[in-house]
């Protein structure tokens, strides 16, 4: 007899119970965001996944309404008990200028705008790249504003009005910031100009300049020497040998010792192609 049937029987109701539990959690969270925020159990830790589910569901609940904010559009502008009132936001960044976003478009734009905003408690991360609670709160704020129809410049302005330009991942191209924007390009151009000027400059060590006159003069001298003496140009062994420089007596003694060790005699020379005593 197969024993599969019993676990299967247990699993099915467990799965159903889990699904119901998850669904009830989401519904509860939706109910929290659609109701009066101050009716929440104050300070209760809200489950993040339920919050996301609630935010995704909220636009559809409030989508039919026109004009001012209403319940179901997130907690930002709910009249009477919201942490921020809509009139203040409008006073700061003006009336919404964009479309009210929902669904995938809302999430996509939240992520994109989140890349432009700095997580204020992280080291150089955008809020879209940070899992910190502050970054999550800021992302939720971006999502709420997009849902209300505020466009990207307005949302960036909203954060800038609170935090200053520090919150923007890209500094604005104005005032001292121009140094950051154009400084590297100017330095690069200056470097290229410097290299170009240096390459065009005559070599100060060449007395005849860099026109090749030195090499030509040397060639002419050699030609004159060869025609005067009647030597063949390839017979270099007949050219007079240069005097070897005088040797340091101490170095000379050392060299003799090395020669004796390496070649067996203190005046021996290395054999052509040889690599020492063992070769």
């Amino acid at each position: 007899m197969k024993s599969r049937s019993l676990p299967h029987l247990i699993r099915a109701p467990l799965s159903l119970a889990a699904a119901l539990w998850i669904a009830s959690g989401s519904v509860g969270a939706i109910a929290q965001t659609t109701g009066e925020p101050n009716q929440h159990p104050v300070g209760a830790k809200v489950d993040e996944s339920a919050l996301i589910a609630a935010e995704a569901a909220a636009p559809s609940l409030g989508a039919g309404e026109q004009g001012g904010p209403g319940p179901g559009e997130g907690g930002l502008f709910v009249e009477g008990s919201s942490p921020l009132d809509r009139s203040y936001v409008v006073r700061v960044i003006g009336e919404p200028k964009g479309p009210r976003l929902v669904g995938e478009e809302l999430e996509r734009r939240t992520y994109e705008i989140g890349l432009l905003l700095r997580c204020t408690v992280c080291q150089g991360s955008a809020i879209s790249d940070s899992p910190s609670p502050t970054a999550i709160n800021m992302k939720n704020e971006v999502r709420d504003l997009l849902r209300q129809g505020f466009d990207q410049p307005q949302i960036l302005a909203w954060f800038e009005e609170s935090y200053g330009q520090f919150v923007l991942m890209e500094p604005k191209a104005e005032g001292l910031n121009l140094v950051v924007w154009f400084g590297p390009v100017l330095v690069l151009l200056a470097g290229l100009a410097f290299v170009f000027i240096q390459l065009r400059k005559p070599d100060p060590t060449d007395e005849l300049g860099d026109t090749g006159e030195g090499a030509l003069a040397g060639g002419r001298q050699l030609q004159e020497h060869l025609s005067a003496t009647g030597e063949e140009p390839t017979n270099l062994s007949r050219l007079p040998k240069a005097e070897p420089p005088p040797l340091d007596p101490e170095l000379d003694a050392y060299l003799r010792e090395v020669r004796e060790l390496a070649y067996g005699a203190d005046d021996a020379e290395p054999r052509p192609g040889g690599k020492g005593r063992n070769s």
Binding site: V42, G43, N137, M138, G164, V167, A190, F194
Partner: protein, 188 residues
């Protein structure tokens, strides 16, 4: 001729004047910038809210009493302190603010907004260190965002007309607190 003598007499290559000027043009502004900013706390950014209307809020106190709104406090200066139980400097500062709230009495309203914290921990903290003024919960951190909070403690000094007069980053000591509250009492 001695080779060493020839080496010694060879002219050392000097610093090119143009290179020196170009280097100074690049490096000097950076040095000035570093010198001017050295020692500054990168988080101590001047708040753009100073001189402007304080962002309004309505938040519930941790003790479950009626929500408190900033608008309802219009006509009285407000010391708005963002803090958390997990913030060590906030513990030191809590005593200063507690004393301040008692010293200034009805003249100034002290308010604490708890930043990214949990209710049981806040209750335990207030039980242990005392509570002389409302501690408000900022679920979702929207008030902290509106005030541009980058860490705790941070304190805003709001005059009777609802305008932000100054902001203080870090734990206040009694002298700082006094120096910032007294101008609020002179009126807007």
């Amino acid at each position: 001729m001695e080779p060493s003598i020839e080496l010694q007499s060879r002219k050392r290559p000097g610093v090119h004047k143009g290179v020196l000027i170009a280097g100074l043009v690049i490096v000097l502004p950076l040095l000035i910038l570093f010198a001017a900013s050295f020692g500054n706390d990168p988080h101590a950014v001047r708040s753009p809210l100073v001189g402007r209307e304080a962002p309004p809020f309505t938040l519930s106190p941790v003790d479950g009493s009626a929500p408190v709104s900033l608008a309802s406090l219009r006509g009285k200066p407000v010391v708005l302190n963002f803090w958390a139980t997990w913030c060590e400097p906030c513990k030191r500062e809590h005593g200063v603010l507690h004393q301040g709230a008692r010293a200034f009495g009805d003249q100034v309203q002290f308010i604490g907004v708890v930043y990214e914290d949990e209710k049981p921990k806040i209750e335990a903290f207030l039980e242990r260190y005392g509570s002389g003024y409302p501690a408000l919960l900022d679920d979702g951190g929207k008030t902290a965002i509106a005030y541009g909070i980058t860490g705790v403690p941070e304190t805003f000094f709001i005059d009777a007309s609802g305008k932000v007069v100054s902001k203080y980053n870090g734990p206040l000591d009694p002298q700082d607190l006094r120096a910032r509250v007294l101008p609020l009492l002179e009126g807007p």
